[in-house]
């Protein structure tokens, strides 16, 4: 299975496609019973067998054997309610390490709007905290706990955010002469002392009195 725009050699998408998805095979498959379903007693896979298929085999099976794809539990109604209650608390890593990639691939097969809504809900609920922590949090038990809940895609975003902040800090506090951050810039040199405002007012009054011929106290 290879979607348009997907890299043929991408290791991450290859690993994501190994995720097992429950399905019901409507037509039998000759000679591949034990290979596809280890619990299959016979040589052939009978029709209407429920089994777990890897994501890469799903489009083939869905097209040829009219396999009915059952959405995994981590994309189900219970998960949706949990995400609505507090998306940032949910441990996506243990449920499905490639949560968003698998959802995207599954959406192309099952075409269920509920699936795209669920992934949007998860991402919207988690992105803000993810990015804030990536920019501000210091290494420690809290950060380790947070990283332990992130899916592969979120972990990549997190490390990109942390790296960008580290690069910014390096630039801002750099002592290099090549590029200087705002705080590292030297102070501007002072020019000649400017007259005080009171002196300017006195000079103006003096000039005025000379024009009118009256003395000014």
């Amino acid at each position: 299975m290879l979607d348009e725009g997907q890299d043929f050699y991408d290791v991450t998408s290859i690993m994501a496609e190994e995720t097992l998805i429950p399905a019901v095979v409507r037509r039998g498959v000759k000679g591949l019973g034990p290979a596809l379903d280890p619990s299959c007693p016979g040589h052939d896979l009978p029709a209407n067998t429920q089994l777990d298929l890897p994501l890469w085999l799903l489009p083939t099976m869905a097209g040829r054997t009219s396999a009915h794809v059952v959405l995994p539990r981590f994309y189900g109604e219970k998960m949706r309610r949990k995400l609505q209650a507090g998306a940032h608390c949910e441990d996506l890593r243990s449920r499905c390490f490639y949560f968003y990639d698998v959802a995207q691939a599954l959406h192309a097969i099952v075409q269920q709007p509920a699936l795209s809504h669920l992934t949007q809900l998860a991402f919207k609920g988690r992105f803000k905290e993810l990015l804030t922590k990536a920019h501000t949090a210091a290494e420690g038990p809290a950060l380790t706990k947070l990283k332990g809940k992130l899916s592969a895609e979120e972990a990549a975003l997190f490390s990109a955010g942390a790296e960008s902040m580290a690069a910014f800090e390096r630039w801002r506090y750099s002592t290099s002469t090549a590029i200087r951050g705002p705080r590292a810039q030297s102070k501007p040199r002072l020019g000649p002392a400017r007259p005080a405002l009171q002196d300017i007012a006195n000079q103006a009054a003096h000039a005025n009195s000379r024009r009118t011929g009256t003395s000014h106290q």
Binding site: Y9, V11, E18, R27, V29, K30, L57, T175, A178
Partner: protein, 211 residues
């Protein structure tokens, strides 16, 4: 389940740090190719039975749905194994190339981990790069030395490991641990990357010209 062996190959690469390369798993590659051959043989049997029936493929598929399903599953498994094997080879080749640019010693130390074909590839890549860097045939400078644009042609370095007397094009240096030296940047780059010396900021250097 089909394709599991090939995924083990990809796992080997994915779980390895970028500066290392796992040994070429000849045995597992052979097993994956055997699996592909097995799929091909079973596909050939199914195609022969289709040809014997004298029907065209659409009719045969309608009459024998179970055999037709098996045919497409075998085909999908062959394509999957092909993709994984090609990714394995390409990832390894990319890593051999990147190690040539990042560390000379690492590029040499991974030589025992490579297959005969990969050694040939590494040598050919080295020859190509050397030719490109040579003065008469290429740009005339070693591009693997300076990965970032230099700000100063000379660099202050502190020795991290005792190396004894080192003869460089600019002169002879006695590299004793914790001593500081000023040397041309292009000569220091290789020593820094191999971990013998570390670069110093000018303010920290004890051997500045003006002190």
């Amino acid at each position: 389940m089909f394709g599991k062996r090939a995924v083990e190959l990809i796992n080997e690469i994915a779980n390895c740090t970028p500066e290392n390369l796992p040994a070429y798993n000849d045995e597992l590659v052979r097993l994956v190719i055997e699996e592909v051959n097995e799929h091909y043989n079973q596909m050939s049997d199914l195609v022969r039975s289709m040809n014997r029936s004298g029907q065209d493929s659409a009719e045969w598929g309608m009459e024998h749905p179970e055999e037709a399903s098996a045919l497409v599953v075998h085909h999908a498994c062959i394509l999957r194994n092909k993709r994984l094997l090609m990714t394995y080879v390409k990832e390894r080749a990319e890593r051999i190339k990147s190690l040539k640019w990042s560390s000379r010693t690492a590029a040499m130390s991974i030589r025992p981990q490579l297959s005969a074909t990969e050694v040939e590839f590494q040598q050919a890549y080295d020859r190509l790069l050397t030719k490109y860097c040579r003065k008469g045939t290429g740009v005339g400078m070693d591009l693997t030395l300076d990965t970032t644009p230099p700000s100063d042609p000379e660099l202050s370095v502190r020795v991290r490991k005792d190396c004894g007397e080192v003869v460089l094009p600019s002169g002879t240096f006695f590299l004793k641990k914790n001593t500081c030296h000023i040397m041309p940047r292009e000569e220091a780059e290789g020593l820094i990357r191999d971990g013998y010396v570390e670069a110093l900021e000018h303010d920290n250097c004890l051997l500045r010209w003006d002190t």
